[in-house]
Symmetry: C2
Subunit: 345 residues, 2 copies
DNA sequence: GTGAAAGCGCTAACAG
DNA sequence: CTGTTAGCGCTTTCAC
């Protein structure tokens, strides 16, 4: 289990190098304003003792932690099954690493976890938080608000209380959905169905709104609730087929549910895109390119969203240190989407 | 971006409740030894001020952090693409949550990250570490060793220096591989090939050894290196087919590579299992059950491995607090595997 | 039972 | 340039 050697302190290094604690501290933190020979002596002492600064002590006085929490309001099962999170995390991770900040991943599955996460955030472990995958009525926004931790949200938060002024990064879900459906219309399809995402998330609602923008008076039977998973897509597709056997196109709220829909269509002997055209959302390569046929979908740059969230947060944090009010608070960003045509529509 | 209200301190709560800091501290930490009326007064003050203890200050004196680092030596891309990690993390997360400990996920992609992770671990942010997916020559074991952080490894570490005494949880990779190959032999197969995992990981080496245990003098051409990914499985299968067109069975080092192999076999018109029998390793349900045909594979309980790792670590940590030497250091565990028969062999 | 006081290991003025 | 001196916010003896 590895030993726990008592770690040397600044004091010890100072003694060994024959200087004061202050000098050691200076050297450890960049070493400007210390003459070369001393720097060298201190460096050696640090090396010999294997000294590493105690972060708790450091944070206590600096109030900085060089760590950012990423809070995902989903069970691990989903977080790790859905490439969406992987991509977003990759973007975030890249940006944080470049800023020498540590990513701390917090998964919250239920009410009990919320308390723990709240304590963690309020406990001053991190400089800021990146929060995703919010569900309507989610206590998280209020919680980070109360914890007093600077936060950037991934996706527009639903309207809780602390949310009005929230900073977020989102895709143009509604616009992207419109484009997808218009494309289907342009293909001559008339009986266009929609498999929604989890409707307790704004992204799903926005995509549904986009669908309705174009299909103003669509048969209500053509809209079926999914949940962003392949299994949900299968279920929805089956229901759709039962209810409206004459449909000739499907717009699924994301690629994962589109893949499920595709499986059902094939099993039912409907040809794609000849009998039924299918469009997804996300352009998650490992999914969209592997389906049979490859999926026409609305592309959003997920990794870039992650990167942007991190960048906005870090910028905001740095600003606190600098002149107050310089540049003002960052404001939310909505990224554009583009339709990617493949074989399914 | 949310405001940063200055958080109230113990002092403030004490003042408000009209007691000393010591008393507030006692109440906050369980409240034994404080008379009821005072407890009540303090509780109310805490509530009203929204007080949350500052962890940095607390850790500084207690040397506890109620947090455990999970270090995965893989890029996010793989971590999130491979359900293996999801399952293991789920097990860990469950156990840590039950112990009210926070999971801190650290991904290390390259040398630069190692330094950062080393600093993080040595910096005293966590009480212990769970480290996985070690590669041969990986500096991580030595690093945690030097950081002086109690650690449990997932999978037997390769033999670095600090590794001899390392505590780990592993599956019986060699035994499982033997069982898989024997099964194939029992089916009457004679030209049995092996697609290895990433051979810089002990699990892959052990499975290869298991294969060789049974196929003592197999044609060396029947062993091709994979890397635990579906793409690697495809590549290996293609090479195998070119090199030994007469093979009649394949044992793949994990389900993911088996799925790749299956795809190639189908594309090449080989029937599974009639022409070529295939066995995988892991029994990762979302993979093994979805392949066509469903995969016969060696099951290991990955979630349980995670849970066990966490439990062993926590137990070790608790022990430090209690009587020293009680029960001695925990020792490594090797979990058994079982063959799961489906349609592919 | 409760409070006073002494640090945990570090940084940040402030002198010199 | 370097050292001395105060704390950061908390827990924990030790008296009362």
């Amino acid at each position: 289990m590895t030993e726990t050697a008592p770690r040397p302190t600044l004091e010890a290094v100072a003694a060994r190098a024959g200087v004061s604690r202050a000098t050691v501290s200076r050297v450890v933190n960049g070493g400007d304003g210390v003459r070369e020979p001393l720097v060298e002596r201190v460096r050696r002492a640090v090396e010999e003792l294997g000294y590493v600064p105690n972060q708790a002590a450091r944070s206590l006085v600096t109030k900085r932690h060089d760590a950012v929490a990423v809070v995902i309001a989903e069970p691990e099962t989903r977080v790790f099954a859905d490439p969406f999170f992987a991509l977003q995390l990759r973007g975030i991770s890249r940006e944080l690493t470049a800023h020498d900040s540590q990513l701390v991943l917090l998964l919250t599955e239920g009410r009990a976890d919320h308390a723990r996460v709240g304590r963690y955030l309020a406990g001053g472990h991190v400089d800021g938080a990146l929060v995703f995958s919010l569900h309507l009525e989610d206590p998280l926004p209020e919680l980070v608000q109360r914890a007093g931790v600077p936060t950037v949200f991934g996706g527009r938060p639903g309207w809780g209380d602390g949310t009005r002024s929230a900073v977020y990064v989102d895709s143009d879900n509604r616009g992207g959905a419109r484009e997808a459906v218009r494309h289907l219309v342009g293909l001559g399809r008339r009986r266009i169905a929609h498999i929604t995402g989890a409707l307790d998330q704004t992204s799903a609602v926005d995509r549904l709104d986009g669908f309705r923008d174009v299909m103003v008076d669509a048969d209500p039977g053509l809209v079926v609730a999914g949940d962003f998973t392949p299994a949900g897509g299968e279920r929805a597709m089956r229901e759709l087929l039962g209810r409206c056997p004459d449909l000739d196109a499907v717009f699924a709220a994301n690629d994962l549910s589109a893949s499920g829909a595709l499986r059902v269509l094939r099993a039912e002997g409907r040809r794609v895109p000849d009998d039924v055209a299918v469009v997804g959302f996300d352009d998650m390569l490992p999914v969209a390119e592997q389906t049979d046929p490859p999926l026409t979908t609305v592309r959003q740059d997920i990794e870039e969203m992650g990167r942007l969230m991190a960048r906005m947060l870090l910028r905001g944090l740095d600003r606190r240190g600098g002149e107050p009010g310089a540049g003002g608070a960052p404001s939310s960003v909505v990224l554009p989407t583009t339709l990617v045509r493949r074989a399914s529509a």
